[in-house]
């Protein structure tokens, strides 16, 4: 296989090829490293590339295969992750200046699980500073760029994860999603991204953004790849008390089901406000695919997402101000103005208001379940109402309207975090100017199995996930 053919394999395909000895982990890892080095000047998707360590691990993986050792489901597969997943003693920057040399003392549970499954760590991926903006701008490490058109934003905050996976520089990546930070870069870069149910995946050993809404999620090229990574990293973790105390289901096995008779809701309010013509068209086309698969499409009015959006922002601003307070007081010059502006209001929100916003979650979740998920099984909406804008258009200093920019980009993703519900971003085609457009499937708590199945069947009928950017 040529390096290009190798890089175009999915995670599932490359894991199978390594296992069957069609290709070695060293060949695959070298192909990724060479390609990463080639695209990095254009895309700036990596903060660090650990070439020597990765090749050493790949050689070890090949030796294990040769001697017939027991193999994990990611044996020898190169991955890279948002630079906020801790490994004891290794630098983890959080995309910030403040943590530029930070070496945590612990290793994230999800990193341990991926390593135990045989994955190779290629490097740390670019991200928005402290995971605090949805565009991918980063004043300290440079803006990450969209592989479909480097003048356009990647989405954030898991900007490097979306860019590197789409660019074929790695087979999958972890991101994190507090208000859309996995789904937005997945959508803008044309890959799959999961925001899991709150409590499904351990957050131990990851940099926090908003304790009550943070989730860990994989970005991959196919739904099947995403199901595999989720199967490996999900499930009980005594180190994270918010994590459910049960093993994760086998999401890959569940892909084999059908969706005949499934009720898919399309919101009549909020989610299409301001949607461009090409976004509407791609949404209609994707719904038509679900219809041919036997699903029923039902228009539905959802509880006011704008109210949920504001409650979510109250929680995240309060929690971010709490955790960043000591640094904001002592070294404010080390934060970009954009990021400071996303935390400062939190200092002035009364603690009673914060706690009310926290206690309202159960009520709003109950309302949402009764008004939506008693009537439909899944909700289908655009991830963003417009194709990814340019980096210049979303530069906060250019417009001065940080809140406006953030609100327009995250209006369809943030409510899900407040409600703790799962959502999967799935590529649905391209805009008139050749940029990716995506829909998200949202479901009931812990319904990832159903979401994966529906999205996987969609990908069996379409080939948007096979499209690769020319770099």
């Amino acid at each position: 296989m040529t390096p290009t053919e190798l890089l175009n394999l999915s995670l599932i395909e490359v894991a199978g090829a390594i296992r069957r000895k069609k290709v070695s982990s060293v060949e695959v890892t070298r192909a990724c490293l060479d390609h990463a080095a080639r695209v990095q000047p254009q895309l700036n998707c990596f903060i660090s590339i650990e070439a020597e360590e990765a090749l050493k691990a790949a050689r070890k993986a090949d030796q294990a295969l040769k001697r017939g050792a027991r193999l994990g489901p990611l044996h020898g597969v190169p991955l890279a992750h948002k630079d906020m997943y801790y490994r004891a003693g290794k630098v983890s920057t959080g995309g910030s200046n403040i943590l530029r040399d930070y070496r945590p003392r612990v290793t994230a549970t999800v990193v341990e699980r991926l390593a135990a499954a045989g994955a190779i760590w290629l490097g740390g991926l670019n991200m928005s500073e402290f995971a605090a903006n949805p565009t991918g701008h980063n004043d300290h490490w440079g803006h990450c760029r969209n592989p479909w058109n480097p003048a356009h934003m990647t989405g954030g905050s898991s900007s490097g994860s979306g860019s590197a996976v789409a660019a074929r520089a790695c087979y999958g990546a972890l991101g994190s999603d507090t208000g859309g930070s996995v789904r937005l870069p997945a959508a803008a870069c044309g890959v799959v991204g999961l925001k899991p149910t709150y409590g499904l995946i351990s957050r131990y050993g990851i940099m926090p953004r908003s304790w009550s809404q943070d989730t860990v999620g994989p970005l991959t090229r196919t739904v099947h790849d995403c199901a595999r990574l989720t199967r490996i990293i999900a499930g009980a973790d005594p180190k994270d008390p918010t994590c459910v105390n049960e093993p994760a289901p086998n999401y890959e096995q569940a892909l084999a089901g059908r969706v005949k008779g499934l009720k898919i809701g399309v919101p009549a309010n909020h989610y299409y406000d301001g949607a461009t013509g090409d976004v509407r068209k791609r949404m209609e086309e994707s719904l038509a695919v679900f219809k041919t698969l036997g699903a029923r499409i039902i228009e539905i009015k959802v509880p006011d997402p704008q109210e949920i959006f504001l409650l979510s922002a109250t929680v995240s601003q309060s929690e971010a101000a709490t955790m960043h307070g000591p640094w904001i007081r002592t070294r404010p010059q080390d934060y970009s103005l954009y990021v400071l502006s996303r935390m400062e209001a939190g200092f002035h929100i009364p603690v009673t208001t914060y706690l009310q916003a926290i206690n309202l979650r159960a009520h709003l979740l109950d309302d949402f379940m009764r008004q939506v998920y008693m009537k439909v099984d899944l909700l289908h909406t655009p991830v963003m109402v417009m194709p990814p804008p340019t980096i210049a258009e979303t530069e906060p200093r250019a417009s001065g309207d940080v809140t406006g920019i953030v609100s327009r980009i995250t209006r369809n993703t943030r409510p899900t975090n407040y409600l703790g519900l799962p959502a999967l971003s799935v590529p649905a085609g391209f805009s008139e100017n050749g940029l990716p457009i995506a829909f998200q499937l949202m479901g009931r708590p812990f319904s990832e199995t159903l979401i994966f199945r529906a999205a996987h069947l969609y990908q069996q009928e379409t080939d948007w996930h096979r499209c690769a950017p020319r770099l």
């Binding site: 209001a345 200092f347 929100i349 706690l355 309202l360 159960a362 708590p445």
Partner: protein, 71 residues
């Protein structure tokens, strides 16, 4: 009762006196508008709260729905 408009001066005083932050007048004006918007959204929604509510109810509810899904 409707609350009075939150002022930049209040934000500046709060910053100095309670959270040890010196905030420019211009920024305090922007923050006043943002804090007012967020605070009012929560206060308006808070009519739904019950005396016995507590933060852990949310995660318990997610799990309850999980069990309901499984049936």
């Amino acid at each position: 009762m409707t609350n009075e408009k939150l002022t930049a001066q209040l934000i500046r005083d709060h910053g100095r006196q309670l959270v040890r932050l010196d905030i420019s007048e211009h920024r305090a004006g922007e923050l006043a508008a943002e804090v007012e918007r967020l605070n009012n959204a929560v206060l308006d929604a808070a009519v739904r709260l019950d005396f016995n509510d507590e933060p852990a109810r949310f995660t318990a509810l997610l799990l309850a729905y999980r069990q309901a899904n499984a049936k």
